[in-house]
Symmetry: C2
Subunit: 342 residues, 2 copies
Amino acid sequence: MVKTQRVTIQDVAVLSGLSICTVSRALRNLPNVSEKAQAKVADAAAKLGYKASSAAARLAGGSTGSIAIIAPTATAWFFAQAVEAAEEVFGDSGFDTVLISLRGKSSVKRKIFGDLLGLSQRVDGVLLLNVDLSEYEVALLAASGLAVASVGMTSVPWDNVGIDDELAAWQATSHLLGLGHWDLAVLSGRETQENSVLTSSDRLKGFGRALKDHHLTVHPDLVINSDSTIDGGRKAMNELIAHRSLPTAVFADCDEAAFGALMAMREHGLSAPKNVSVIGIDDHPMSWFLGLSTVAQPVADQGAFAANLLVDRLQNADAPNEPSNHFLDTKLIERKTTRRQR
Amino acid sequence: MVKTQRVTIQDVAVLSGLSICTVSRALRNLPNVSEKAQAKVADAAAKLGYKASSAAARLAGGSTGSIAIIAPTATAWFFAQAVEAAEEVFGDSGFDTVLISLRGKSSVKRKIFGDLLGLSQRVDGVLLLNVDLSEYEVALLAASGLAVASVGMTSVPWDNVGIDDELAAWQATSHLLGLGHWDLAVLSGRETQENSVLTSSDRLKGFGRALKDHHLTVHPDLVINSDSTIDGGRKAMNELIAHRSLPTAVFADCDEAAFGALMAMREHGLSAPKNVSVIGIDDHPMSWFLGLSTVAQPVADQGAFAANLLVDRLQNADAPNEPSNHFLDTKLIERKTTRRQR
DNA sequence: GCCAAAATTGTAAGCGCTTACACTCTTCTT
DNA sequence: AAGAAGAGTGTAAGCGCTTACAATTTTGGC
């Protein structure tokens, strides 16, 4: 039974014996529709398998039924998890998910913000995953009329879900310090204009705070860009090994960077924790296997939570409560790549 | 400069001194538009920063400017890579990417095919990544009027890009056999109705063919479901260790399953290649690190290639050449988890 | 140069939906 | 029991675009 003709609101109106207008209202659960009419419409719509044309709805001023997810990349473990979790929530709520990966290119971000009006034509809301926004961009988005929610962003005028990145980094670093390490390097996600994963700066702060707690200071030479990727971590560690004095411990601000660091060490005949202690953040599925000490964070939960907040806003546009900010717990997991420094 | 009013085709028409109709045609590069008009329109559109409303275009019978990517999951390494590569191609060509992850749920697939008409309302084309389709579903899609392309699917009536899965599996298995192993198990992606990654069956075939080449046969007890995930591979290997006689070598049909297998072995105090040789398919970034022997395949290339084919179809709808099927090369990479069996 | 054919441009009718506004019934007031 | 207020419903005007089809201009052959 392949349907070939579109069922329009007109068909539903005829079948239910009501006007198009009433059908439209009934379908969207607007007030001023009698229960009888409501029932008739629901019945007719079901019989015909009616589904509103999002294009027409949008054009007439309704909603698009789509939500955009904007992420710095879709391939990194964290983002792939969060995207899928959010996509599930959106799909279950009847929204299409439009994926926009910045792919580390500021040009893509510029394009999006240059055409925010266009975007707002195509989606009802935006879920931002760790996107580093300028104040101007935040203002633009807030004024766009789009519903917005985010993961891992701070001081934004919309709902946000995340972990306490500074705390997580502090936990990881404190673990190292508690083990007697005082000569530390940090592999930090890139902070350039081109591609900054937002959490990096908070994690760097947490690192700094932990050092300060132990009356140590951050040595700029020992803050290396890792790009938050395996390859970046590897390069960063190689650099550390080749050009600088080796610290006794390394804090990578995500597990993938830590993996890269471990790779680089292996390439140079070094290993953790023998030569250098290594800790990450994430608790990636491979971390257990590699014995990587890390600070675990719930990832899918963050994506799903934020997605739900966004959907709620969209569905209850009438209840404009304050933007909320939720922190999920992180937990230090000691494994085998960190040990006491004599 | 925050624009607040939408620029419509009307504005462009006025500025260029032409009719809406001519502007529409010029903008879409249709024939029968003089060069002068073309230039005037392009100029006016650029000045105004005009961008067509996809909703209006769609409603009027034009295109939506979106393409759906349908994948069994968005989190597995292969899919995350392919999705991002395709998303880049789509984005650069001016298309939005609608992500649909089946999440291993046949219910999601059913929902999509139950409302294919709805989907075709919202997107111009569909990129399928290793989705296991019934003949009926293939026919439905082919008749939907949507442009379709795929990665890793065989005998479909649309453009496809993939590797020779049977060959890749044959390469991996032959490597094991060549090393003197004859007691082999295979960790195969799930084949259930619920969630089958399509390539698994071809890979299983390749496994079988390699055995046959050596006058061996596949023992059903040694074909274990791995779900093509780390965790699935781990469970599969655990099962193998606990309940069955240990083979001398294991072929996992993707690297992530192989990782899981290695984990399970470690949990039982076993290691590769000492107790069991292990080989995968993919060449995941972690494989080098773990010394995993594998058959490498280009992943982003497949996604980008198929995406380009789809975009070409969409942009040159007039040139309806035959569906093409492209195979990209795979290559055996010997590392440390496989060794000669005495 | 003249006229048909070809090339270019314009007119107008929708696409399927939302929404301001008008209209018809019910309910309450007093 | 008459009129005001409100609930429920319908009318019709778009939203911004595409696309027959009609109107106009250009081209080219003789």
